[in-house]
């Protein structure tokens, strides 16, 4: 199963959501859909209509920058990172 790592700003919004979890998915979009099924509304926190990743949300699959349609495998590590921004 893919190894999903989420930014620290997400768990406070969704009770029970961990920073790290494993799930089955063939693409980044499927992984987010799987998360949204368990924590409704989570997709909207990562994606905007289009759909596309929000401008300040970065996803890396096995250390390569990824988009929603990027493929992932059962051995992938997927990092969802909030951009270094703000003040």
């Amino acid at each position: 199963m893919a190894d999903i790592h989420l930014p620290p700003t997400l768990p406070p919004l969704f009770p029970g959501l961990p920073r790290q979890l494993e799930l089955e998915a063939a693409t980044v979009d499927e992984a987010i859909e799987s998360l949204d099924e368990r924590w409704p509304g989570l997709r909207d926190r990562l994606c905007e209509p289009g759909p596309a990743l929000r401008p300040h949300i970065n996803v890396f699959a096995d250390q390569e920058r990824a988009a929603l349609d990027s493929a992932i495998t059962t051995t992938s590590r997927v990092d969802v990172i909030a951009a270094i921004s703000g003040g």
């Binding site: 930014p7 700003t9 997400l10 406070p12 919004l13 509304g41 909207d44 926190r45 990562l46 905007e48 209509p49 929000r54 300040h56 949300i57 909030a82 951009a83 921004s85 703000g86």
Partner: protein, 355 residues
């Protein structure tokens, strides 16, 4: 004795300042809403709502049913599904008639009938004069033009006014199906393509007679005695025609408060002298209210939702600054005290009176 709770929406979350009906001693709780920037926090029927937008996670409305002990975030339906419009934040909230209205950026008005759990888009004012221009990126100032102002009629649920930044006021009497510009008599210090629109309304409020409206505009302070159908400028006597915040006296239709600011880049109180200005005769004359406020070195800015009243018999007046102070008056603005000094920059102040 009632609880008086000031809701301060700040750049780093929502704070609650609480006192009793004497309004002398205050405690501060917060930050809430996970420190998301809060643009407008309001109270309605035991519920608190905070319109917020995260640079990372988008816009939403936080809700609390226990006066801030716990909060939930929802944005279901708060989006433009198709087309070129992008919802970057919720700028303003209004409650009434069992419903919440939310003004969005890009400009559109949303409605919730289940306490901010889910939202429905009511209108993006399609077909109105200026509509195409205010959504054209090449014709916008830095940032986006949104809908920061909402004013719901207290008696008629289908009637409300919205403000589109840089374009002016639009009124609907059929819950958003059709709209009419309500800007006649306003001043614009720039050329207009269409005399019906192109006015920079910063804050629109209603007097307690439910017919008179007041506004602080980019170009002066104005009064309407016919619910917005025509406007008369009442700036004379104020130290500046510029400002953002405004509030009507809750019991006196001739009473109205503004906070004049320097125009241009400063947008702070003139000469570093903090003051709220009040008229008691519908704008024929103005009084500077500054007892208890700093008279020098106070370069304070106050944003459009930063001035409020508690509506009590002897009304309290409150304002929050972009540098994180909140000042309160328990005597209609005659005397003031600082009730919070080190909050993040304050975007909005509203007051809940409970019990």
């Amino acid at each position: 004795m009632p609880r008086v709770i000031v809701l301060a929406g700040t750049r780093k979350g929502c704070f609650l300042l609480e006192s009793d009906g004497d309004r002398r001693d205050w405690s501060v709780r917060g930050p809430f809403c996970e420190n998301w920037p809060v643009y407008h926090a309001i109270h309605d029927d035991g519920m608190l709502y905070a319109a917020a937008a995260s640079e990372w996670h988008g816009a939403g409305v936080w809700r609390s049913g226990d006066f801030g002990e716990t909060w939930e975030l929802s944005s279901e339906g708060l989006k433009y599904e198709n087309g070129d419009l992008k919802l970057s934040k919720i700028s303003g909230l209004r409650a009434g008639h069992g419903r919440l209205l939310a003004g969005a950026e890009a400009a559109g008005v949303f409605e919730s009938r289940d306490g901010a759990r889910t939202w429905t888009l009511l209108s993006t004012l399609d077909g109105l004069p200026g509509r195409d221009d205010w959504n054209d990126p090449s014709k916008q100032p830095p940032g986006h033009l949104g809908m920061p102002g909402l004013l719901a009629h207290p008696d008629d649920p289908d009637r409300f006014w919205v403000v589109v930044q840089g374009y002016g006021i639009f009124e609907t009497t059929d819950a958003g199906d059709t709209w009419t510009p309500r800007n006649r008599g306003l001043r614009a210090d720039w050329p207009l393509d269409d005399p019906e629109v192109g006015y920079c309304v910063h804050k629109l409020v209603m007097a307690p007679d439910r017919e008179r409206l007041y506004q602080q505009n980019h170009c002066g302070v104005h009064r309407s005695d016919d619910a917005g159908q025509s406007w008369t400028e009442i700036t004379e006597g104020l130290p500046s025609d510029f400002g953002f915040a405004a509030v009507a006296h809750p019991h006196d239709r001739d009473g109205f408060y503004v906070i004049p600011l320097d125009a241009g880049h400063g947008r702070v109180m003139p000469d570093g002298h903090a003051a709220v200005w009040r008229t008691r005769d519908a704008g024929n004359s103005w009084q500077r209210l500054d007892r208890g406020l700093p008279h020098e070195g106070a370069h304070l800015g106050v944003l459009r939702e930063g001035l409020a009243t508690d509506g009590l018999d002897e009304p309290g007046i409150y304002f929050g600054t972009s540098t994180g102070q909140v000042f309160a008056s328990a005597d209609e603005g005659e005397t003031w005290s600082e009730i919070a000094g080190y909050l993040p920059g304050v975007a909005s102040v509203e007051v809940a009176v409970v019990g």
